[in-house]
């Protein structure tokens, strides 16, 4: 597989997956660009990877954690639990992201967001997702179930308020 063709086919979905995980489009774009640049530098290896998109997204997410750790040493971060900058929720009017859904995603724990990114956006199967994240397949399914439950509650609050 040619790198340029791979990039053309998969850059958008990788960007969406990382965006769902980190919550900020600028950050996601930079992380994905960096990950693809690394993939280009190691294309002999990455090109033979069974799921190159998973390699790119995992590299981008690892870079985000490294970046956060560097910044934690350098300046105080208001919320150390956040692995990304605050999302652009309710940001620019021409933003391509639905702010309500992005806000709901950002309320999920980081691991659940990663599972959502890999399973739902990249459409990886449970086994591959588990391999990428270094967790058991059962844990992936548990995270996904909890994430979907939380998103459903978050996105349909009016249903909760209805009398049972």
């Amino acid at each position: 597989l040619d790198f340029a063709e791979f990039y053309r086919r998969s850059a958008d979905e990788c960007l969406r997956a990382v965006l769902v995980s980190v919550g900020d489009l600028d950050t996601a774009q930079d992380l994905v660009d960096e990950a693809f640049a690394r993939a280009w530098g190691s294309w002999r290896t990455v090109g033979r990877h069974p799921a190159p998109v998973a390699w790119v997204v995992r590299t981008a997410l690892n870079s985000n954690i490294s970046r956060w750790r560097r910044r934690r040493r350098e300046i105080s971060v208001p919320d150390p639990g956040m692995l990304a900058d605050p999302p652009m929720v309710g940001g620019a009017a021409d933003s391509p992201i639905d702010p309500r859904i992005m806000a709901a995603l950002m309320r999920l724990p980081a691991r659940q967001r990663q599972v959502v990114a890999l399973r739902l956006i990249l459409d990886l199967d449970t086994g591959r997702t588990a391999e990428v994240l270094g967790i058991a397949p059962g844990t992936v399914m548990a995270h996904l179930g909890r994430a979907l439950g939380a998103l459903r509650e978050d996105l349909m609050p009016e249903r909760q308020q209805e009398p049972s």
Binding site: W40, G41, E74, I75
Partner: protein, 227 residues
Amino acid sequence: MNDNELITTVRQSVADVHTITPVGQIMSRGRAARARRRIPVLTGALGVAAATVLAVTTLLTASHPAASHPASGHDARLAAFAVTRQADGSIQVSMFHQLRDAAELQQLQGTLRADGIPASVTFIGQQNPACQAYRMPPSDQPISRSVRQGGFPNSPLSGVLGSPFQNPVGDAMVIHPAALPRGSGLQIAVMRGIPARPGGPWPYPKGSGHAVVSVGLVNASPQCTGS
């Protein structure tokens, strides 16, 4: 809403997100990263020679302390940048990664002011309204332009700012405080979130048509530049 509907909703929420980076730019970034990885090898090979040069430099420094020691005596290494006073009195601002937080801009502003440069540092579009463009007779024109490689012909900024250049540790610009017209200060506006990458041209990102940093002369005042 069942699971399938929910999954479709989540997918559709980001369906209009598309990358803006051409593949050529990715490859350039990869080449730059590869070149940076080779630098430590080269550094090791030249270690002995470098040690010799360092020893000579150290001796020269010790014999000319007034010329080589910073007036303010500090080399500020902060989150995303470093501000260093050089032997000729100029101030070098090095960017190590993108400036994203207002706190980082405040730190840069405070460091520049501590080094004697009346400065206002903000994101582009959020300039301090208290700042008034500095006008130098006889042109009576506001003096402000985006930083471009190649200098600033026919502008007082050409003396204040050295041409942007690449340095071994990051990307830097040089400010000559002595060249600031009397009563003026610098208004530095940074585009939020644009990466300033080591090895890349600064302040322009490679392949971009957009200025990352805009520098202008403004009237120095406590409300604008701190003094």
